[in-house]
């Protein structure tokens, strides 16, 4: 079942496609640089012991993002 949720809410092992970036300025640029553009497929690969941050597989690389930043990336699960 497809559903829309922020990147932060993906469970370990769940895949999704980025739909929108709600974050602005510096962080937005940074997210675009690492490949989180609309349409990109991401997978939540790891969660740290406390759940925050979590590591996502983005375009071949494993990148950790904090919950507050990942919450601003909207995705659609497959």
């Amino acid at each position: 079942m497809r559903s829309n949720k922020p990147l932060a809410e993906l469970h370990e092992g769940e895949c999704a496609r980025v739909t929108e970036l709600l974050v602005q300025n510096g962080m937005r640029r940074r997210l675009l640089d690492i490949g989180l553009t609309p349409g990109t497929r991401v997978e939540c690969e790891l969660k740290s012991p406390s759940g925050d941050p979590a590591a996502y597989r983005i375009r071949g690389a494993l990148i950790a993002l904090r919950r507050r930043d990942a919450a601003l990336v909207l995705t659609e699960t497959e």
Binding site: M27, R29, L32, G35, L46, P49, D52, P53, R59, D69
Partner: protein, 748 residues
């Protein structure tokens, strides 16, 4: 390919200056690439210079230069800090961007990770908009193969239009071909239909991209290099702007297309940088200003202004990188990837993540302590015996008594003590640490601990700088450059001294063994020692959190910054290389420090212990002056004096204490800890004194090297003073608490 075959040795490290070129006939080549792709490995392999390369992003914190010679041509290689993009976010990325754009390099080698090619190409494409003299080096091919990734390089080269060279820098493969490609792109050869000279592009490339280009030059009046084609409104705007920019663009500047895009984007800082480099304001040139207005108008008609424009540009780059890679990369999941993923799951799991970290820490300490025992003993025996011999020779040579005392009892004995106590632990700890780094485990530590740092409004990368501080606090302070936000960087710098460096380990382990573990030796004792040491270290870590929280709540107020941390794949460390290099480096460092600090300190001490002032030695006078103050904190005058005199280097604190107590001004053989314990107890030490000394050793002013480094990094005396006061205040408070509580409960 053998190293050193025609590759000359490199010069020392220094920051690159724009347009600076050491010799006229050298070709300047910039090395660019994402963090952690092996740029520094390529650099080292080509220049032969030793530059530490560890397996976590952001290891190269300065730009380094080196030279090499291939087939009679001299090249100056400049290794830039890793950047994800030329739209700089941190001081390091800015340094990389500035050099690539404005540094006047003759060619740029973009090093890419074969396993992560799509994302790496983003930077390559951006670079290709600036200059057409680009070589793409696809590194880490061996790893990609192991992970089941294969890359069709010929096809990629045809699509990109620049040379694409595969490499495995670790094994030294592909470097010769790389330099050949660099020679090709920088060769002067007339180009058809253009007055500028350039090496003609591969034929296939031109054919493949004819359709995408309208045949117009947009680079430096040479054939178009960039395969990136933006959305139609942007291309239209560029068509308006590029001719005007080309007209005023000087020869060595970045391509007109790139300049035009930056003008349209309107990034203030970057435009100022461009103007500075050109020597005039680009946007204010009459034709450019006019064309720019027109271009912006046409863009706003298409609703592409401000953030929307930046997004569109970034999006196009990413999409182009994806299109270029489609059909070029074949990926099949392998056992290794699954294994890595499982390992990661365990190392960061809720239940096992942190306990495993602690176990690893205990393990490292235990190995360091046990492994260092025998070598320390042997070194001490040998060196002290040689010292006696030295004394005999001096006596034979007829040297006066005081010279013998100064040289042997003072300088040599302290030097010998420091070397025998410091060298073995360092020679074990640093290789272990480097192995963990190379393996790629340390970013996982930062990943696990980030939540705690978030709560302190600091950055998770501080975990990495703390880990570096275990080796040497000065190194930890330099390592703080990996933290982007200046506020968080400052917090990391100021709190780095809370973790004990290698120089303090011997002090702590000696006191622990004497007063808490006992001299029985054996596995139980060494494990207990390691456990207690870990406990102390954890106390230091806890204080780091506390201090960070305090700082971010008072003088360094602010919100947590955005944080992205790349977790690189696990790599097998090059065991042999790491061990040899690490041990050698550390040995030289310790010996150098001993000669530079310990020997003079020994001289000073001997003088203080043998010069009499009013019937008492200078040492006794100073110690008794400090005594009342020190007693309040559970220490005594000698201990406090030792810490003060130990400002140049922490490792001389214990020798000073010993020499002061012996008050003969000479260090008799004191490697037997039970003898040492007897001496201390004789001079009034109790377990409270031991605890307070350890607490103060853990938390006191940074050593002189660290202070200088802090000043260099912060460029501010104010913050250096803060870095001195903070741990001292913490240490004094802790000691006062313990001492007075003990006094209250136990009556003394």
């Amino acid at each position: 390919m053998e190293r050193g075959n025609g590759f000359a040795r490199a010069r020392a490290d220094e920051p690159p200056r724009p347009h600076a070129r050491a010799q006229k006939r050298e070709t300047v080549v910039a090395l660019a690439g994402n963090p952690n792709v092996g740029k520094s490995t390529v650099f080292n392999a080509l220049t032969g210079m030793h530059q530490h390369t560890g397996n976590w992003p952001g290891k190269t914190v300065v730009s380094a230069r080196g030279s090499c010679e291939v087939q009679g041509k001299r090249y100056l290689l400049v290794d830039t800090p890793g950047s994800y993009s030329l739209m700089a976010h941190s001081a390091e990325e800015q340094a990389a961007r500035d050099f690539i754009c404005f540094g006047g390099a003759d060619a740029v080698v973009v090093v890419c990770d074969a396993s992560c090619l799509e994302r790496n190409l983003d930077l390559a494409l951006q670079t290709m908009e600036i200059t057409d003299r680009v070589v793409v080096c696809v590194n880490l091919m061996d790893e990609a193969r192991q992970r089941g990734t294969s890359v069709d390089l010929a096809r990629l080269e045809a699509r990109l239009g620049v040379p694409v060279v595969p490499a495995c820098a670790r094994a030294g493969q592909g470097l010769r071909e790389l330099m050949h490609a660099v020679a090709c792109v920088t060769r002067e050869k007339p180009c058809q239909g253009c007055s500028k000279t350039r090496e003609p592009q591969p034929k296939a490339a031109r054919g493949a991209r004819e359709g995408a280009l309208d045949g117009r030059c947009s680079g430096c009046c040479c054939a178009l290099c960039s395969p990136v084609r933006y959305a139609e409104p942007i291309e239209q705007a560029l068509k308006l702007l590029i001719p005007a920019v080309s007209a005023v663009r000087p020869e060595k500047a970045p391509g007109a297309r790139w300049l035009a895009l930056r003008l349209l984007e309107g990034d203030r800082a970057l435009c100022e940088g461009i103007d500075r480099m050109l020597g005039f304001s680009l946007a204010r040139q009459p034709e450019v200003a006019c064309a720019l207005t027109q271009a912006k108008q046409s863009l706003s008609r298409a609703h592409l202004t401000g953030a929307a424009l930046c997004d569109a540009i970034a999006d196009t780059l990413v999409r182009t990188a994806g299109e270029l890679c489609a059909g070029v990369i074949q990926k099949t999941p392998t056992k290794r990837e699954r294994r890595d993923r499982r390992l990661d799951r365990i190392l960061t799991s809720r239940r096992a993540g942190i306990p495993l970290m602690l176990l690893l820490l205990i393990g490292v300490f235990w190995l360091t302590i046990t492994g260092a025992n025998l070598p320390s003993q042997l070194l001490a025996d040998g060196l002290f015996r040689f010292g006696e011999q030295l004394a005999k020779w001096l006596a034979l040579a007829g040297a006066p008594e005081w010279l013998r005392g100064l040289a042997v009892d003072g300088a040599y004995r302290v030097l010998a003590w420091v070397v025998s106590v410091m060298l073995p632990p360092m020679a074990i700890f640093f290789p272990l640490f480097t192995l963990l780094e190379d393996l790629g485990y340390l970013p996982r530590v930062a990943f696990n601990l980030d939540r705690c740092f978030q709560k302190c409004r600091a950055c998770g990368k501080q975990a990495l700088t703390m880990a570096m501080g275990f080796g040497c606090n000065a190194a930890g302070v330099v390592g703080c450059r990996i933290i982007d936000s200046p506020r968080e960087r400052l917090i990391a710098i100021l709190t780095n001294s809370f973790v004990p460096c290698n120089g303090r380990f011997p002090t702590l382990t000696a006191i622990l063994t004497m007063f808490f573990v006992g001299n029985s030796g054996g596995l139980g004792a060494s494990l207990l020692c390691a456990l207690l040491l870990t406990g102390l270290v954890l106390l230091g870590v806890g204080m780091t959190f506390l201090a960070s929280r305090l700082l971010s709540g008072t003088v360094l107020r602010g919100v947590p910054s955005s944080f992205t941390l790349e977790l690189p794949p696990y790599r097998r460390p090059q065991l042999g290389k790491v061990l040899v290099r690490s041990v050698l480096d550390r040995t030289l460092f310790v010996l150098g420090r001993a000669a530079a600090v310990a020997a003079p300190a020994g001289v000073l001490l001997w003088c203080m212990a043998n010069l009499a002032v009013g019937g008492r030695t200078l040492l006794a006078v100073c110690a008794s002056a400090l005594d009342p103050v020190a007693r309040f904190f559970g220490l005594d005058g000698v201990i406090l004096l030792a810490f003060v005199l130990g400002f140049p280097a922490n490792e001389i604190v214990v020798p000073i204490i010993i020499m002061a107590y012996l008050s003969q001004g000479s260090l008799v053989e004191m490697n037997d800890l039970s003898l040492l314990r007897a001496l201390l107890v004789q001079n009034g030490w109790t377990w409270v004194t031991a605890v307070c000394t350890m607490l103060f050793s853990l938390m006191h002013w940074p050593c002189s090297t660290t202070c200088l480094t802090i000043h260099k990094e912060t460029q501010s005396w104010k913050w250096t003073a803060a870095a001195v006061l903070l741990p001292t205040a913490a240490g004094l408070t802790a000691c006062a608490l313990v001492a007075n509580l003990a006094r209250a409960f136990a009556g003394g």
